[in-house]
């Protein structure tokens, strides 16, 4: 049993030899690179904003993204979800740009666990902030304890409270680790497939490009989608909407 796991970890360690995490400065360079691309696109798209019909293709793309995210927010969170659109859209844009950069370069912010963890912390922290703002501090804490139970069942409430706290922490881990695993795993997969095709000089890894492109979009979407679900969970008690998502989110 132990040998099994040492095998697995040694495999990962081998992968890590080629892909140790970015250094502090390297992460800064990557983040600034991504932000430069993002801001360049945005300022280019801003020029086409004043027309009656958006002819600028970049502007059209941003418009589509905006409408998509607005739709997502409204469907998942409800009618008051429109005010979370900017926050969710910034997350989406950063993740998507980072993923696209990761398609072509070996390193990218989203392929770095620390950056993803920062994003997840921000997202979940924002969710907690919204929860406190919507329900009050006490109401928000009470929300962790699950449904109201009387008598001896208070113990169960306490258990639920602990479980919910753990799940709240795990939200961070799950969000960041998912993104990291997908993007970084894509890199590793490409590397190993390239190694596979080395003897006959065929870069097999390049054939993974389409599925990696799909992963880019899907991962950006899942990150923002889960953020929306978390927001809807903490801000949506009165309309009975959150209960339906509860089993899905209470992992």
């Amino acid at each position: 049993m132990g040998g099994l796991f040492t095998l697995g970890s040694s495999l990962i360690a081998e992968a890590e030899q080629t892909h140790e995490g970015l250094s502090y400065l390297g992460l800064w360079v990557n983040v600034l690179f991504v932000l430069a691309i993002l801001f360049g696109l945005m300022s280019y798209a801003k020029k086409g904003l004043n027309e009656r019909v958006f002819k600028n293709p970049i502007t059209q793309g941003f418009e589509q993204v905006y409408l998509f995210i607005e739709n997502m927010c409204v469907v998942i969170i409800g009618n008051h979800g429109r005010k979370y659109v900017p926050m969710v859209m910034v997350l989406w844009l950063v993740i998507f740009t980072g993923n696209i950069v990761a398609l072509f370069l070996g390193e990218s912010p989203t392929a770095d666990l620390s950056f993803n963890f920062a994003m997840a912390l921000i997202a979940v922290g924002y969710v907690q902030y919204e929860g406190v703002r919507a329900n009050g501090l006490f109401g928000h804490v009470k929300h962790f304890a699950g449904p109201k139970l009387g008598g001896v069942l208070v113990i169960i409430s306490g258990l639920i409270f602990v479980v919910e706290l753990i799940s709240e922490v795990l939200k961070n881990v799950s969000l960041s680790l998912r993104l990291f695993g997908n993007i970084h795993g894509g890199h590793v997969a490409v590397e190993s497939m390239n190694k596979l095709g080395e003897p006959i000089l065929v870069p097999y890894g390049m054939f993974l490009l389409p599925i990696k492109l799909l992963t880019c979009v899907v991962q950006a979407m899942i990150f923002t989608l889960l953020t929306c679900v978390y927001i809807s969970l903490v801000t949506h008690h009165e309309e009975g909407h959150g209960e339906r998502h509860a089993p899905a989110a209470a992992h």
Partner: protein, 65 residues
Amino acid sequence: MLGLGIAALGVALGLGLIGFGALTGMSRQPEAIGRLQVVMLIAFAFVELVFLLSVFVAPGIVKGM
């Protein structure tokens, strides 16, 4: 190595089940495709998370013990 294989097997089964369920639901109710896709993606994410946890976290924990 074998553990990775087992984990991949389980995740593949889970993803297949989710896809099967989602496709069945979609073909039964084409008007609910949007909602089903969202829920399906969320379920995908959680199944995938289990695999990632098993790959990245479990070896460390076991080694630390």
